[in-house]
Subunit: 344 residues, 4 copies
Amino acid sequence: MLNKIKIGILGGSGYGGSELLRLLLFHPNAEISYVTANEHAGKKVAAVHKNLLGFTDLSFSATPENLAELPQVDVAFFAMPHGAAMSLVGTLAETTKVIDLSGDFRLDDPEVFESAYGRKQTAVGLQKEFTYGVPELFRDEIAEAQFIANPGCFATATILALAPLVSNKLAVGKVIVDAKTGSSGSGAKAAANTHHPQRSNSFYAYKPFTHQHLPEIEQCLSRVGSITSSLVFMTHSMPVSRGIFASCYAETEREVPTQELNEIFSEYYSGRRFVRVVEGSPDINWVKMTNFCDIAVHSSGKMIAVFSALDNLVKGAAGQAIQNMNIMFGLDEATGLLFPGTNP
Amino acid sequence: MLNKIKIGILGGSGYGGSELLRLLLFHPNAEISYVTANEHAGKKVAAVHKNLLGFTDLSFSATPENLAELPQVDVAFFAMPHGAAMSLVGTLAETTKVIDLSGDFRLDDPEVFESAYGRKQTAVGLQKEFTYGVPELFRDEIAEAQFIANPGCFATATILALAPLVSNKLAVGKVIVDAKTGSSGSGAKAAANTHHPQRSNSFYAYKPFTHQHLPEIEQCLSRVGSITSSLVFMTHSMPVSRGIFASCYAETEREVPTQELNEIFSEYYSGRRFVRVVEGSPDINWVKMTNFCDIAVHSSGKMIAVFSALDNLVKGAAGQAIQNMNIMFGLDEATGLLFPGTNP
Amino acid sequence: MLNKIKIGILGGSGYGGSELLRLLLFHPNAEISYVTANEHAGKKVAAVHKNLLGFTDLSFSATPENLAELPQVDVAFFAMPHGAAMSLVGTLAETTKVIDLSGDFRLDDPEVFESAYGRKQTAVGLQKEFTYGVPELFRDEIAEAQFIANPGCFATATILALAPLVSNKLAVGKVIVDAKTGSSGSGAKAAANTHHPQRSNSFYAYKPFTHQHLPEIEQCLSRVGSITSSLVFMTHSMPVSRGIFASCYAETEREVPTQELNEIFSEYYSGRRFVRVVEGSPDINWVKMTNFCDIAVHSSGKMIAVFSALDNLVKGAAGQAIQNMNIMFGLDEATGLLFPGTNP
Amino acid sequence: MLNKIKIGILGGSGYGGSELLRLLLFHPNAEISYVTANEHAGKKVAAVHKNLLGFTDLSFSATPENLAELPQVDVAFFAMPHGAAMSLVGTLAETTKVIDLSGDFRLDDPEVFESAYGRKQTAVGLQKEFTYGVPELFRDEIAEAQFIANPGCFATATILALAPLVSNKLAVGKVIVDAKTGSSGSGAKAAANTHHPQRSNSFYAYKPFTHQHLPEIEQCLSRVGSITSSLVFMTHSMPVSRGIFASCYAETEREVPTQELNEIFSEYYSGRRFVRVVEGSPDINWVKMTNFCDIAVHSSGKMIAVFSALDNLVKGAAGQAIQNMNIMFGLDEATGLLFPGTNP
């Protein structure tokens, strides 16, 4: 590939944008044309994201209402609050590919969207052109796509944990997903629930039975196989900066030994570099700062437990977005993403 | 009450013993006669538990093989590793009451015990005389008891969350308990799984389907009501010092609205000072260093989620042991235990 | 004492107010008449400070501009932002005692105040009547005082570490104070510097050479002895909720062995229940949630290092305020404050 | 460069070895020939360091007493406990370069060594051939060296903070260094001082006036300039996994404004890629997982404060070792080390 991919980042002040910058600055085939952040317009990127000091001279620009005023790019990443991409994507040049990290285009059904996000889907026609970007499941579709709805962090962890069960029609009855997130999932803006004096000793559940990631999980899994079971999805807050841990409980019609399950999972994710099937339990410690989703599976009688762990900002957001970009542009999906985590 | 209760603590170097000391030193009706810790025999208690500096002149003594060599006490608390109380309780004076914080006497069936703890029950006769000490459920029985098996921390959180459902025959089918513990649950001895550089960024599952607290939960709940459902119990490690958080998922035959569930729980725990039925979610932050178990309950259709949170060393160990002592000696169960937690 | 002390708390939504409530609700001689918090006026205290659930039926009231509209109390605690007490204290009944936790009345010199706090001292006359309330140093003066300026958290840790040196004229030349605070020192309102995802992995210096606690430290120590040395005071942020740790470095004219220093410090704080002179190093872990200031002192040649540790919200704020109240009302200074910390 | 550098790692189970592996596996010019760890001999590296799962098929080998039994390598990294390298380095092939991460060869004077490490220097002749490897100060010497003593983590942070002052003869009188470390500095083995339940809420000083890094700091700075001042060095433990933060206090003869100091520091480190002179304060958050040392300097009158922050396992150990290797082999010193940290 001779020319680098020209990249625009819409919304570079949050953690999603921060991680896109960190990863794309070192991507061998990428070149960042612009990064917007209204509140920081004119400021150096490295003055806001101090980890990037010495790595970039980029400055933030403002986000115009008509994106055509910005330089034309090959791909635009949207890392803006829910609702922003809907009104902006249509103003891009026709050939520009789009990867949206928000929830705006994840849900096919406008009514489901409105119910989940508390706002109207104002770009119904556009939404139909979006592909839900789980690279481990939909690689071919992504390769052809112009528009990608990048999955949510909870959704990624849950979908990757359950897809082998659903695809193999193993689960019957209710599937319970007890999911936990680190504090960076709440974003870069200080808020009561991420106030350090309290959060550092906290663990609690939130949005019981109503988290907005449930519909995208159900929609996605229904494409993977016929779900004969229904999902219960519960979200909790952990006192740690990064990480999603999902504990999934399912019942099977016959007893499937742990060993057999491991083979099913390993085969299902054969050739998928960013899913590692591990023994015992995954641990958010081993995947932090990486694009991996580690998964372990166990059974006891007819009960199955699947555990998955990932970094909410990498595999759960920016890393997966870049993995999608790699596939869309014909690159190895792991380009710029093959780095390990750290031990302590 | 004129005379103070004379107290012996067997095993005072661990966190269970440390918390017994902290709480009993301020109990208006208690007087500690001795505290043993072989590794610290002869040392001042406050030199080991530096939080107690200035509060006690007690020194640790060694644990003799025959406890009759120690001063006679009204009640002996055992805070020793599993297996120790079994061989020691029988050497106490006949009138001495016993509260055992280990798992030695919690399980009625010696085979279930051996399977859970990997050791033989060597005091089968004695075991039959033990009462399982959940004060919210068995107050009258505890008042009459000479021997108390103090429940495990996970077990307490789970039992208190599920008892109102079981008692009211609300749950049908599988009940899933996704439980999480802080690092102090692993005890006071340094170990690989509590090594700070790794634990501080960790979240993982452990002992999948095999945690030794499951049988005591099942045994206890079977006394509360007829369980028509079976339990799945899964334990996880949180990167925080103190706290148990249990998320319990159950199905009901008919839809029971959240409001109705709240009434059921509030009524069930009416007059139980240490269970607080809260809105939204409990949080380990609000119960740390306290004897409270906070519980919240929600439903959606026929699914119920019950969340419970407690401090594993207080309501999950030493605090509950003292609550049992209070009841056994005819005191208000809250004596010496009515202190709130802290905000940050 | 037959009648309980009637207490008003002005500003009960922050951490200072929260801790005053927690401690005063259990003070055997105290009775809270009202607690104000404009943003929560009308709400139950326990709905805001959930640790107090079950311990109080108090509700927050609004703070009137004229405090005479509130019930008359024996003592009013001000736990409001800097600047508020200055304009409110004068509206209290003449006989009401005052303990102000803000910086409003700590500095004698209005110019020093303006330079430290960036605002004018608008109550110069009133300020002259305030006693700086370090109970270990000024007990007799506090016993006679109507108005107490409660010291800052950093100031308390530094003053208690240095007073024995200053009083004994041991230090010559520059004294360096390298002080560290936990995140609760920033208050209960969420802000960028206490945003959990970043704060939990942070350590940094702030306000180099300009922290507003320096003048009150200098002013206080000048009363303890003639300082022949000048102070350098530097503040840092630790990634922990509670705690102040001050490392103080001083030079002496002659070599003073560690053993001799320990005797000097122990004698100096003889009869002072809340200062514990310890070996090795104090640790914020052992003083968290307590009213203790632990101090250790070491020398090497002519260099002395003094380490002090306390809980910024208790001995550094609410606990010390109550200790002052106890002295003002002729009670044992330790009333309601004699509880130990916890081990883990 | 056609051939990759053949690398041996002696002691691969600790955090130093773990980080060497993580970084060298991705170094474009490096090829790991072997990695030893007696306790894990025969085990897969990725089974011990789970962050490396999927990145290497290497297995640990045992460390023979005669290193000539291992494959010949171009450079051997020693990441073993103090005392091991002394007895092993001499058994390597004569042409093999050595980079020792322990303290064995850092101190020129055997008596100073014995006093600092409590053991005899048994390789006095060999020691004379070692170069102390601070790349920012001794790049030319390192380029010619066969043997490198890699500096300690505290020493690196302190030396880089003070070298510009010493080199410019700015400091007079005592220099105070108040240094803080994260828990990973204690190594990978679980121990009482890194037990999570206590460490996670701790801050304390240790080894007052006696830390073994002081002599190497003094020895190194004496090469940078004539020190007219003496050092006081005090170490503390922070409740965080990674990071060194050093606060250095010095006096100057004349007042040197902050702005001028910034210019002096920026010029001194001009062309040094891994030292970043920053405004305000450095923060361990921004350098974690990186090879950077961030430094800020401030003055007030004749007092100077220099703050430095680095990752103890990267710039304080493995990263700096690889930086030294790069220089020794004629590569750009930043090869394989130019990655930024992360924001949250």
